[in-house]
Symmetry: C2
Amino acid sequence: MATRNIKEVAQLARVSVGTVSNVLNRPEIVSPATRERVFEAIKKLGFVRNEVARHLRVGRSRTVGLVVLDVANPFFVDVAQGAEAVADEHDSMVVLCNSAGDPGRERRHLDQLEQQRVMGILITPVETESPWVEELIARGTPVVLVDSPATGLQCSVAVDDRLGGQIAGAHLVERGHRRIGFVGGPPSVKQVADRYAGVTAAVAAADGTVELLTFTGPTLTVAEGRAIGERVAVLPPEERPTAAFCANDMMALGFLQAMASHGLRVPEDLAIIGYDDIDFAAAAAVPLSSIRQPRVLLGRTAIELLLEEVVEPEQHRHRQVIFQPDLVIRESSAMLR
Amino acid sequence: MATRNIKEVAQLARVSVGTVSNVLNRPEIVSPATRERVFEAIKKLGFVRNEVARHLRVGRSRTVGLVVLDVANPFFVDVAQGAEAVADEHDSMVVLCNSAGDPGRERRHLDQLEQQRVMGILITPVETESPWVEELIARGTPVVLVDSPATGLQCSVAVDDRLGGQIAGAHLVERGHRRIGFVGGPPSVKQVADRYAGVTAAVAAADGTVELLTFTGPTLTVAEGRAIGERVAVLPPEERPTAAFCANDMMALGFLQAMASHGLRVPEDLAIIGYDDIDFAAAAAVPLSSIRQPRVLLGRTAIELLLEEVVEPEQHRHRQVIFQPDLVIRESSAMLR
DNA sequence: AGATTCTTTTGAATCGTCTCAAAGACTTGG
DNA sequence: CCAAGTCTTTGAGACGATTCAAAAGAATCT
């Protein structure tokens, strides 16, 4: 209720508002005696600076928006933690928004962030071609794309998903699998399309006897993975793939559960490899093999690029940073016998 | 760069700034012709309302801060999703902050949120007695405590953790366990203390032959659970508990991994029950029994209480809403033979 | 036409802080 | 004691949107 302002502080300390502002922003130019008096007044009144008014005057906010595809996916939580760590060092704040894969939600979040005049936005867009994002940039909000290809209008950080898919595919082929299933989400999601392209390439590079089956659903969740798993589990053994490459670990975990509930053994009856290497992958019923991405680093780099753009807009050149994924082998893709 | 303001819109539409503001906030009182003209100008200029300035004038923000103990814990992600769903309906925004169990980080977040003049704050405090929170309230920011007991200065939502601990303990006792381990974090965390009190009560209520061992660490993470598990696994069988009640599912998952890596079978050699029933619990190596909390409902209720307080401060009476936990039995605590 | 009522539009004041030119207070040297 | 510098402090504009009393314009009635 009783929010004090700079004027009340000035009154109590018997100085002008300008001086109070100076104490707050450049204490070194104020004489020690005055400074002390102002600090006392601040303390006595319980004054808390109104960042909103400050921002209105200064014109630049200290918060960064991070819009992710799915907060429930630990992958994005880790990206967020990376971003937050850097923001913290620059006493900025990251506000985490969840588009949940819905373009409508994504747009609402972008609108809100723009209205708040955030310093910039980090986003994993729902759709690759996003006019909203381009307009946002045109109107002056810096954007860094996370895990999505840049169009040249902005910076981006990503992991080479095609390579990741290829590594996963090659691993399964090398393990002797000849009928591989790709368990993914909508191909409109860039990550899915790239990982699929990668595994396709790996299969093509094999001796021609390897078959690739595709199973997709609308989302990339545990539930979706389970649902697809149910469909796969009931296939006759001769049609059923002997290995599945899941577009992410959430799906892989769901898929794995479906196998278990149908009495199929992993990896004996069906091997599984996921993507992201979230912490829970190692704790799964059968520890999951996965393609590891530098999640935290992704977030760190994204916000660093953003800060660079904000601090020196003039000499900033948009860049695309691409990281390499790693293969992590665990029990779920152990050798076939 | 080129951020347009209401004045430019007014100029282009050949009306006063007051009219533009009216079009934005109460379009029905503006004549259709004028309204149309203003909308066109807005579109042509790519004008986006400056929420900061609006807020400065109106004095109330549309964002709510949510400060959680650990974003990596899916429990809190679900609470956040519940809160966000309600905020969405009231076109507000939830900004998610992670204290990571560190009072310093918590304080920094609270300071920042207060400076931003958020509408209110939902928080799971690191420490039960938090002078910061009380001062915050005294200065006029409404607060709702999540999963923490209220002091009467604010509303709170919580789940009866003591009861949860009791249910878990009773379950293990009933399954025939006579040496039960409690795997928890620092007792300064209210949740841990309550769950411990609950299991203690359950043990005391048994026939007196049940022993309760306590293993604690500084955090409530997967890694901590694993570390404690390592210690427990190497105990001689006659000292090792036959069942473990973990303070949350993250710890339980880590603990379970440690058992597996030491060749101990769950539940045969050691039964496990966790707390929270996060989605990953069911997908664990051995599906985890757990105490389920209404996570999403917790978030929904918290923000509803906050909104109630903000909308009608006069007739608002602080309330404490307490939910009941449920027992979910899975393989990890199946009957002893 | 003039009076009355209703609908629209106007524009100055306001929210809390920062900026910056200018004034005021002190020093120092001559 | 004065002039010329330093330090400090001052206070009048911004910043962008909202509000609201009052003015202007339309419509209705006598």
